[in-house]
């Protein structure tokens, strides 16, 4: 009896010298298990990904949209255009003046895209508003409205000069530019700051900003910055391929170059 017990007790100790193929099987098993868990999570999340990531005043009443794979029809609407209006490609940017990643895109990637594709007439850029995070308001909406007010005075060119200044001066995360700083930008750009103040006070572009947010939600935008790149069309609606996040210039270059072929 005692001998049998001792044998049972000792048995696991023999396992300490595990053969190599068992270790290999264990490693392979671990990798396969983790792959299954990860793949399962991805598949599950994709099947559930129709739920809208963004909740804000304008988007929360939207029905969850099924996020399509591949290009989606996105309108340039009546928003500001930078570059040749007849350029073969169109990039629609959904952005938030208070989003730190949008600022990062503006600082690190936008100048190169502008130089290589917009200034050369290969692509035009349409800037649309998408204020994704409630804490970015009210400043983000004010900034978006102020840019529209600037456009009212000086067209698309004034819009983009104002846009550049907002991104250069804002500290992001909802701590950005107050009314006096917005007026200072107008002054510095040679715009009529009194008219801009009146325009801001009238809230006349609040609906325009809200419409951009609604349109973005409809095409499955869930965060900022998000970009749609596609071939330009007469009706201003492009079949846009979505790029999400402050991706490096190389990501944009690969996609744009492929579309220009």
């Amino acid at each position: 009896m005692e001998n049998t017990q001792q044998q049972k007790v000792i048995e696991p100790n023999k396992k300490t010298g595990e053969p190599l193929n068992k270790n290999l099987a264990m490693i392979c098993g671990t990798i396969i298990l983790s792959c299954l868990i990860i793949a399962g999570t991805i598949l599950y999340s994709n099947s559930k990904s129709s739920s809208n990531v963004v909740i804000n005043d304008n988007a929360q009443n939207q029905q969850p949209q099924q996020q399509p794979i591949g290009p989606v029809k996105v309108s340039v609407d009546n928003d500001a255009v930078l570059g040749d209006k007849n350029a073969p490609l169109t990039m629609i940017e959904f952005s938030d003046y208070e989003c730190p990643f949008c600022k990062r895109h503006f600082t690190d990637v936008y100048p190169q895209i502008k130089k290589d594709y917009i200034d050369t007439g290969k692509m035009k850029l349409v800037y649309r508003d998408f204020i994704a995070v409630p804490s970015h308001n009210p400043l983000a909406t004010f900034e978006a409205m102020a840019a529209e007010c600037a456009r009212e005075q000086g067209g698309d060119s004034a819009y983009f000069k104002y846009h550049d200044e907002i991104f250069k001066r804002t500290t992001s995360n909802g701590n950005g530019l107050d009314a006096s700083q917005l007026l200072a930008i107008a002054k510095d750009l040679g715009l009529n700051s009194t008219a801009l103040q009146q325009c801001l006070d009238s809230n006349k572009y609040k609906d325009e900003v809200a419409k951009d947010i609604t349109d973005a939600s409809k095409v499955g935008v869930s965060g900022t910055p998000s970009f749609f790149v596609g071939k330009s069309s007469q009706d201003g609606i492009i079949d846009g391929t979505i790029i999400v996040g402050a991706q490096p210039y190389s990501a944009f270059k690969v996609i744009i170059d492929e579309m220009l072929k």
Partner: protein
């Protein structure tokens, strides 16, 4: 305890899982673009170029802290899954396993990366919308999941370190007398 960690059969799978985890989390941000590209009729060269280019987003589309948390969670998930798999092999007959790693790595997926910038993972469990209302935009979830993973890892290593044999206790005469006294009391 360190002996459990500093082993080839622990480090290699941990690193492989961590790399896989990091890659997938980075690619999840652009899952629509990648699905369309990889399944579409594009050249292999374009597909590879895009995969490499999007990988660069790890540094540009995440905050420094977010990236650091992602790497920590990836390593902890790798370590937990490795230990879990090793325990499955070793403790099959015991039938009792810890599934803390499963839950907390799921939380890590959700919280890592840019919470407010469109990780489709956020849609999971319906947490997506509520995360943007958190003071640190979801970074809290990363920290909590890292802590859970750390606890899980500690518990697994600790329980693995326990002896796997039933020790035979040898009583001497005095012990036997003490035991007799105690048993008489009750």
């Amino acid at each position: 305890m360190l002996q459990k960690i500093i082993r080839k059969k622990f480090i290699i799978p941990t690193l492989i899982i961590a790399v896989l985890y990091t890659l997938i989390t980075t690619y999840m941000m652009n899952v629509r673009l990648l699905k369309f590209t990889l399944l579409g009729s594009f050249t292999l060269e374009y597909k590879v170029k895009l995969l490499i280019a999007i990988l660069g987003g790890m540094w540009t589309a995440m905050s420094g802290f977010g990236l650091m948390m992602l790497i920590i969670i990836a390593l902890l998930t790798g370590a937990n899954l490795t230990l879990m798999a090793q325990r499955i092999v070793k403790l099959r007959s015991f039938g009792k396993l810890q599934f803390v790693a499963g839950g907390s790595s799921l939380l890590g997926f959700i919280g890592s990366g840019c919470a407010a910038c469109g990780l489709p993972m956020l849609a999971l469990l319906g947490l997506s919308g509520s995360v943007i209302y958190l003071p640190f935009k979801g970074i809290e979830i990363s920290v909590v999941s890292a802590a859970l993973l750390l606890v899980s890892l500690y518990l697994m290593i600790k329980s693995d370190s326990k002896k796997e044999i039933c020790e035979v206790v040898v009583f001497d005469k005095s012990d036997a007398q003490k035991l007799e006294k105690i048993s008489k009391k009750y």
